[in-house]
């Protein structure tokens, strides 16, 4: 294991890519992802990777290039954020349907308008139903770790779906933190060599990629994505268990913190998870029975795991860094679906927060817990907004 170093989240992802050395990277610059592609361009310029690096003229083309390269038989990575991910939206569905295991770093940034470069999860939520796997990292270390794990899950022959590794824009992408990188050979061995599946460049066995499918076949082809999502739950568990063996860092699809005897639980994704645990410790010190659940794998959503953590609880607060005007927010809806499996589900309320990079301070989460413990608050709450 190498010495710990100081690193930001974008650089941690670039370093993971460097160790994996993808055959093709195609990208387009957008804040706050740009550090990734700039750092990786340096690796290419200095001959530290074998990658063919394509500077696309747009994100739509960047993802299309990745689709073409992956279908051709290459291991492929890209990165984007916000409007860039929105511009890729059409190709998200196409790539998932084509079963090309592209790895995409998403530096979560809000969507225009108004235009704003700061963090929230609205961009990733736009890809929620596309058939892409989605992982969220809490800190710089997880930005790196999730990237290695993501290659394993996406490229697994039981899955073969593209995956997003999401980290909070600026909060993780640009923050310097203590970070441990695995040795190159350990990382490479963990990810393993890329195995092409029906590559276009196998000219002796010509494959038709992206055909027209009419009503007689479309549904079945979409269902295959669902079946692979189901398989990905087990594959992700395996990949995380193997990762613990080489790194000592034990991860799970959803992770509980002081939940066992908790009566009230807060659920969140991304960098908020650390703040949430800090607040749980403070309230525990005051004798409050509270706990926290962090979601690492958002698609497929590990509903059974989530339900286990929430079984028997009195109240649950779901923190959403995105909103769905007119209804509850995405994570809230998934948690509701999870607890609907329970005989006596807890009351679940939704707290929208941190939109457009609005700071989250621990006292706000304390207030949320107090509200939930008092049985107060609306079903869907817009935390801290000036109405």
């Amino acid at each position: 294991m190498s010495e710990p170093m100081a690193c930001n989240g974008d650089m941690a992802i670039a370093l993971a890519w460097k160790q994996i050395d993808p055959d093709v990277v195609a990208a387009y610059p957008i804040t706050p992802q740009t550090i990734i592609v700039e750092a990786f361009s340096d690796f290419v310029a200095n001959g530290e990777v074998n990658t063919e690096y394509v500077c696309a003229e747009s994100e739509h083309s960047a993802l299309t290039i990745c689709v073409g390269a992956s279908a051709a038989g290459a291991r492929v990575a890209t990165a984007t954020a916000s409007a860039g991910l929105a511009f890729m939206w059409e190709m998200l569905y196409v790539s998932a349907s084509m079963r090309v295991p592209i790895i995409m770093a998403v530096a979560n940034r809000t969507l225009s308008g108004p235009i704003n470069i700061h963090c929230d999860h609205s961009d990733a939520m736009g890809g929620r139903d596309s058939g892409w796997l989605q992982m969220f990292g809490e800190n710089v270390q997880e930005a790196y770790d999730n990237t290695l794990i993501a290659f394993r899950i996406a490229e697994d022959m039981r899955v073969r779906l593209p995956i997003m590794t999401c980290i909070d824009g600026f909060i993780i992408t640009h923050a310097l933190e203590r970070f441990e990188i695995l040795d190159d050979d350990v990382a490479k061995k963990y990810v393993g060599p890329f195995q092409p599946l029906r590559p276009l460049l196998d000219i002796k066995n010509p494959t038709t990629y992206g055909p027209l499918a009419m009503p007689d076949y479309y549904y079945e082809l979409k269902y295959q994505v669902q079946a692979s999502m189901d398989a990905a739950v087990g594959v992700a568990r395996e990949a995380m268990a193997d990762f613990a063996k080489i790194s000592g860092r034990k991860y799970d699809l959803v992770e509980g913190y002081r939940t066992e005897d908790a009566e009230y639980v807060m659920v969140a994704m991304g960098s908020t998870a650390g703040t949430m645990r800090f607040v749980v410790d403070q309230l525990r010190a005051r004798g409050k029975k509270v706990g926290a659940v962090k979601v690492r794998l958002f698609r497929p959503f590990p509903a059974a795991d989530m339900a286990k953590f929430l079984e028997g609880k009195k109240g649950v607060a779901v923190m959403d860094r995105a909103m769905s005007p007119g209804t509850g927010s995405p994570l809230y809806m998934d948690v509701l679906e999870s607890v609907s499996r329970l005989k006596s589900p807890p009351r679940v309320s939704n707290y929208v927060y941190g939109l457009g990079g609005r700071d989250l301070i621990p006292e706000q989460l304390t207030t949320v817990f107090e509200e939930v413990m008092a049985g107060k608050g609306e079903r869907v709450n817009f935390m801290g907004v000036r109405k």
């Binding site: 093709v24 195609a26 003229e57 992956s70 460049l201 010509p206």
Partner: protein, 312 residues
């Protein structure tokens, strides 16, 4: 190269596709693919040609083929070519492979213009072929940036006030040439030898190449399906669609267009072209006949300027 030899070439696009009788696209595609005997990978933009050759679980493609969306065949091809370069450099592949992308005029002149321009600027080694049937035919004959002045389409219909499309088409071939790419050409399926030779030349040149091919559409142009080749020939004879090529900075007229410029072949009036197709019917009599004259003037201006570029 003669027809007998060509008849023995590998069939890369085979029977069973569902294109209309009289559609020029499969004729053009087969001529282009005869331009190389090396292995090819094909990318396709969304359009008639794509939906009609890949109806799952069937395919008319005997070669590797990829379609992703409407506006991005050049990007998909860029990705395939990037993978090829990477794997070749790493010693994981040693075969020489050629790359060709097909798109209609909607995919090329309009929605996919940026993707094409980007791929050419990046210098990918591929040939892009535009089937120019001068409108969005797959969705039911809507106006595109390639639709000629005076043509009636379902989104620029001829009415009592408006004589079909008001604007002249954009000159995409010249816009592509402005990228300073190694090779670009205009071609027509009636002159198969010219088109196959241009394709062959393009396949053998390294870097981005572009061939714009006039592609008569019986449904959209309103002519009999038996007249497809005659229509494409008339487009050239009237100088509506001159045959030429641009190679490493040099412009050259080819085929009938060269003979017209040299004076050994008659330049037919555009009125013959307009009279041959239902989409121009409203220009033949009544209040819009002056539009036909304007079309003739527009064609003459373009032809004169092209002759200058070709130093005729």
């Amino acid at each position: 190269m003669n027809l007998k030899e060509l008849s023995h070439s590998e069939e890369r696009l085979v029977e069973g596709h569902r294109l209309c009788a009289g559609c020029a696209e499969p004729i053009i595609a087969r001529q282009v693919l005869m331009g190389t005997d090396k292995p090819v990978v094909v990318a396709n933009a969304t359009g008639c040609f794509e939906v009609s050759t890949s109806n799952y679980p069937f395919t008319s493609w005997n070669v590797p083929w990829i379609h992703t969306a409407f506006e991005n065949a050049p990007a998909a091809m860029s990705g395939v070519e990037a993978a090829y370069n990477s794997l070749k450099r790493q010693g994981k592949l040693d075969q020489e492979i050629k790359f060709v992308a097909f798109g209609g005029d909607g995919a090329t002149y309009d929605i996919g213009f940026q993707s094409l321009s980007g791929a050419i600027e990046r210098g990918h080694d591929f040939l892009y072929v535009c089937f120019n049937n001068e409108a969005y035919m797959n969705t039911g004959i809507q106006r595109s940036g390639a639709t000629p002045r005076g043509a009636s389409t379902t989104t620029c219909p001829s009415g009592t006030c408006i004589p079909g499309k008001k604007e002249f088409p954009k000159d995409l071939t010249r816009i592509i040439i402005a990228h300073d790419l190694p090779y670009a050409a205009q071609a027509s399926p009636h002159n198969w030898k010219d088109l196959i030779q241009k394709s062959h030349k393009a396949f053998e040149i390294h870097g981005p190449k572009f061939i714009n091919v006039i592609s008569p559409c019986p449904r959209g142009w309103r002519h009999d399906g038996s007249q497809t080749i005659a229509m494409s020939k008339l487009a050239v004879e009237t100088c509506v669609w001159p045959l030429y090529e641009y190679e490493q900075g040099t412009w050259r007229l080819t085929g009938e267009s060269l003979r017209i410029a040299e004076g050994s072949k008659e330049k037919k009036p555009v009125s013959e072209w307009l009279a041959s197709q239902g989409r121009f019917k409203h220009l033949m009599k009544g209040k819009f006949t002056s539009v036909a004259d304007e079309v003739q003037q527009g064609v003459d201006q373009k032809w004169a300027s092209l002759q200058k570029l070709c130093q005729m």
